[in-house]
């Protein structure tokens, strides 16, 4: 039985692992190292209510300090783990302290991809990943000010909706020919672009940013087509990359994430990894994936914790994702890659519809817009590898479950 478990990373996966370990009766020493100074907190509200100032900081916390005290969790927050010596079972922190472990869980997360064009390092150019990113953005905000958002993905569109809510003028620049092009069907992109425009967001696709200009502070965003857009500040949401340095330097196998098996175990048998930082097998889709999602972080954190206790549990999930933009809720379940047909259920005009992805008759994924019934039904059907009748599926009056 292992007596000391060390968790590196205090995000969703790390917090869930702490919870699971204590709930499942682990009575040994439990340490959590987090680079950020705050107690483990939820990230999703950062681009929404919290950015808008509509949510008190302590509502972001998974648990209050008293929980960690009561459950004897040794927190080392605001300090980065800089070196892992897998042979010696030892982690070195940035302040020189060394921690040893019997079992180690890496929940290193992901980091925002950075702009590399000229002017990218000007003041007033922001990224949004952690709590510390929010105050500088809010400080740059002024009523009727103008924000230029680079990237029309989840972060770009969610922040655009929030800025409009705050009384800002928002322009979204997307490099592809439609917003959220990597994650949703064209019909869903169209719907959200329309919604944003109706609320006053200026969405411009096929726009490649070539440089940012300004005297010390960003003033203009210049695009490849020659357009120059005045900006009071800029928010960049162009994707994220897995954080792997600690693992790769220690010799753990990495390839677009830390490689783990279905037990969340890395190439070192006493080291597990969970969350955005992992490249893991999806049992449902029979391929390796790296996911940036709350559900994945939560479930892998739990699975890794159970396996640290010797339970031999596999991580076998149908991935799901959500996004809130204005009064719309986008719910996505499954992975659409490999589909040969998309079926629209309902109409965009009704503001409640879904897009189903089929491979033959097998349901691979569903995007549900303001339609929780289809989403919930799809979670079960996809997990069960249900075969559906495309003709019935196209009838929005029939429930998804009735389309078998």
């Amino acid at each position: 039985m292992i007596s000391t478990i060390l968790i590196i990373g205090g995000g969703q996966a790390g917090a869930q692992a702490v919870d699971t370990l204590r709930r499942e009766g682990f009575a040994g020493r439990l340490l959590l190292v987090g680079e950020e100074p705050e107690l483990p907190y939820q990230r999703p509200p950062l681009s929404k209510k919290y950015l808008a100032g509509d949510m008190a900081p302590d509502r972001l916390l998974f648990r209050h300090q008293s929980f960690y005290d009561e459950h004897r969790v040794e927190l080392h927050l605001g300090v980065k783990a800089v070196r892992l010596d897998a042979a010696a079972h030892r982690v070195t922190l940035a302040d020189g302290r060394q921690l040893t472990y019997d079992g180690l869980l890496l929940c290193l997360g992901a980091t925002s991809r950075r702009l590399t064009c000229a002017g990218a390092d000007l003041a007033g150019v922001h990224y949004l990943r952690g709590l510390a990113d929010v105050p500088p953005i809010r400080a740059g905000f002024k009523p009727k000010g103008r924000v230029v958002i680079i990237g029309g993905g989840y972060i770009g569109l969610e922040t655009a909706a929030t800025f409009i809510h705050m009384g800002c003028e928002a322009i979204v620049l997307e490099m592809a020919d439609r917003v959220m092009n990597r994650v949703v069907a064209p019909a869903v992109s169209d719907y959200f672009a329309r919604e944003h425009r109706a609320h006053g967001v200026d969405i411009r696709c096929d726009m490649r940013v070539v440089r940012l200009e300004g005297a010390g502070r960003v003033e203009r965003v210049v695009c490849a087509d020659g357009s120059s857009l005045a900006a009071d500040f800029v928010v960049v949401g162009v994707g994220a990359a897995a954080v792997t340095q600690l693992a790769s330097e220690a010799g753990l196998a990495c390839d677009n994430g830390i490689l783990v098996d279905e037990y969340c175990r890395t190439s070192d048998p006493s080291i597990y990894a969970a969350g955005d930082c992992t490249n893991h097998p999806s049992l449902r889709y029979a391929k390796r994936v790296r996911l940036e999602s709350v559900d994945n972080a939560f479930e892998q954190g739990k699975t890794a914790a159970l396996n640290l206790l010797g339970r031999q549990v596999t991580h076998d999930r149908v991935p799901w994702f959500w996004s809130d933009q204005f009064d719309n809720k986008l719910l996505i379940v499954g992975l659409a890659e490999g589909h040969d047909r998309q079926i629209l259920r309902g109409s965009l005009e009704s503001r409640s519809f879904s897009v189903c992805y089929l491979k033959g008759r097998e349901l691979l994924a569903v995007e549900a817009i303001n339609h929780s019934k289809d989403y919930m039904a799809a979670r079960k059907l996809i997990a069960e590898r249900a075969l559906l009748d495309p003709a019935k599926l196209a009838d929005p009056l029939l429930g998804l479950k009735e389309a078998v």
């Binding site: 919870d19 709930r23 509200p45 509502r59 929980f67 559900d295 929780s372 019934k373 989403y375 919930m376």
Partner: protein, 106 residues
């Protein structure tokens, strides 16, 4: 602060003074009430904060909106008194509310 009574899946009774202005799910999470998973943190996106409201208190709550209703229909073992705890805001009228947590969330 209204007193809320949670009955955890194992039968344990937890009496908690709930601060106003947050949701029932947040009260449960702060106090680590067993069986409330609340994965999405209150976005009405996961249906893992499903609870049964004591029928005598149901009328004190505003009825579920369409999104919540759609989630509940396919939650684990839904009942007429099923609610998502993230959609219930703590108000003084909830004094004594009794909430039973289902044996599982899915």
């Amino acid at each position: 602060m209204p007193k809320i009574v949670f009955i955890e899946p194992g039968g344990t009774r937890r009496e908690i003074d709930a601060p106003l202005g947050i949701t029932l799910m947040e009260v449960a999470r702060q106090h680590a009430v067993a069986g409330i998973v609340a994965q999405c943190g209150g976005a009405c996106a996961c249906a893992t904060c499903h609870v049964y409201i004591d029928p005598t208190h149901l009328a004190k709550l505003s009825p579920p909106e369409d999104m919540e209703q759609g989630m509940l229909e396919t939650a684990w073992n839904p009942q007429p008194n099923s609610r998502l705890s993230c959609q219930i805001h703590i108000t003084p009228t909830l004094e004594g509310l009794k909430v039973t947590v289902p044996a599982q969330q899915r």
